[in-house]
Subunit: 319 residues, 2 copies
């Protein structure tokens, strides 16, 4: 049995064919052209899928379904994308459109939920039933897997974990609320925190690493400077990790998943990130006399979107 997975992003449409264990047989991508009408974009998604089927020489009848991971909120039951960040999509009938070209069951899901499902099926949490995967990127994305299925709530909008507030009345978040976790714990937030600290501390290694041009600061720079012993960067990174821990502890107190998987660029810091994270979390978590949630780094990287979307066909979603 094979599955098609499509990761619809603001820049590229990535698609792949996987086996039932989430192993990618072949994959490819085309530009999204996000300013276009949804009909044109979905047609490209279908054509890309058909090209992959041809290339892989897999018989169409051996393919069981097409999954689509999209930014935004889907109506999973009816196969409609209610709205999507970065795209002009509003109440788009993804399933019906896609079935104009390919006669297969079509599933849609939020992209962060797809990444979580991918890590659950074929990645860092493949040995457990319940896991949460968070992505520390421009924002903080998240997906919740319960009993190896995506939990997306009755309205498809669950797992907006970046928008739990950790500082009531705190920093303005892009969502309109104040004090959201993502305003403190995302990669973007870290970059801002590092810039501010570097501005206040001209001797910090951060300034040197970007040749004095703070617009060049990325999320790796403060970690690099901290590893070299720079006190300013160490303080920034310590504080940043505390922010990440604060939100994770909240999630763990509510869910106690067996595993929390951490993805996104910052997850490349590996144990340098995980070790202090664990210390904060195991100190602050409510229930201490029970088996504790494990923290792990994501395994699938950029393929998580394709793999998770493909696995939608094998794992029914929703409430």
């Amino acid at each position: 049995m094979y599955y098609i997975g499509i990761d619809l992003g603001g820049t590229n449409i990535a698609a792949g064919i996987t086996d039932e264990n989430g192993n990618i047989i072949c994959k490819d991508s085309v530009p999204t052209g996000r300013e276009r009408e949804y009909g044109d974009i979905i047609k490209d998604m279908a054509m890309l899928s058909l090209a992959l089927v041809k290339k892989s020489q897999i018989a169409m009848e051996d393919i069981k379904g097409i999954g689509i991971g999209a930014p935004g909120t889907p109506d999973t039951r009816n196969g409609i994308l209610l709205y999507a960040n970065n795209l002009k999509f509003k109440n788009v009938p993804m399933r019906t459109e896609m079935q104009k070209y390919i006669d297969l069951p079509v599933f849609i899901e939020n992209d962060a939920n797809c990444a979580a499902l991918a890590e659950s099926v074929a990645g860092a949490a493949s040995d457990v039933e319940n896991s949460i995967t968070i992505t520390l990127g421009t924002g903080i994305g998240g997906g919740i897997v319960i009993g190896r299925k995506v939990y997306s709530g009755f309205n498809g909008a669950a797992a907006e974990v970046g928008h739990i507030s950790i500082v009531m009345d705190g920093k303005q978040c892009t969502c309109g609320r104040k004090g959201c976790w993502e305003a403190y714990g995302s990669a973007e937030a870290l970059i801002e925190q590092a810039r501010e600290a570097a501005k206040e501390n001209p001797c910090s290694l951060v300034n040197e690493l970007v040749d004095g041009d703070l617009s060049k600061v990325n999320a790796k720079i403060p970690f690099d400077a901290a590893r070299h012993g720079d006190e300013t960067a160490k303080k920034v990174v310590d504080r940043y990790i505390r922010y990440v821990a604060e939100g994770l502890t909240n999630l763990i107190n509510v869910f106690t998943p067996q595993v929390v998987v951490i993805g996104g660029g910052i997850s490349k810091e590996g144990e340098y990130l995980l070790k202090p994270l664990r210390e904060h979390i195991y100190r602050d978590v409510y229930a201490k006399d029970v088996p504790q949630t494990e923290l792990r780094i994501a395994k699938l990287g950029n393929d998580a979107g394709i793999v998770g979307a493909a696995m939608l066909g094998a794992n029914t979603t929703g409430s």
Copy 2:
């Protein structure tokens, strides 16, 4: 089919027999005597249950199971109470002990989870699949019901919703962490907030309602004073409701249950509480273009513990 439900509290053991819909046929209670050894307490639980069976004239073979709701963290799979607040229980084999007296399947669960299951089966959320029930009491208790089953995580410790932080590095919580929701949003917290405000504002009606003795302030007093137009009390209540909303919005952004049920003494304020709560939540919640979570007042009151425990036999729990 009938079920026995036992609500093991720090003060009383309450037990009842229910039908498969959670309707109580008969109930009774005895003092817990919490300083005693667990063997004696569990014997009393069994004797109380047997007395109810006799009184109800239900045949033993028509009773399908015994559920026990207990404060603390259970190992639901093995029927062990790992530890319990207010009781000397640590790693107590509840199932084995109970089965010394009654030969029936025995289930255990956290008491807040039982209350949530009760509201789901026979109370305010009986028409939906997914709900969260919170109790605004000494602390903030909570239970999560997904697909009409209790979600208690892989270690039985999920749904400690009172211990999501809403003010990082904020007020000290009894759990050891700082800034927990329950330190701001529990009935205890409201009482403290009302006392402080009344002390600073000697003309507030709050002082009058307790004859100048602030130790008499309970959670109803500030609401009563606010209803009478007292400005100090209004500010306290407004702020308190914001705190409650902050935590609820966090839960909704993560779970999007169809219904949030609010119980505990403060829930008696009804619409006076719910109306501003809804305004805060619907303004702050992340996904606005989708069906929204409904807020409702709990229906089962003190019987929720018995009903939920009884229903454990009809609803398997765990991950």
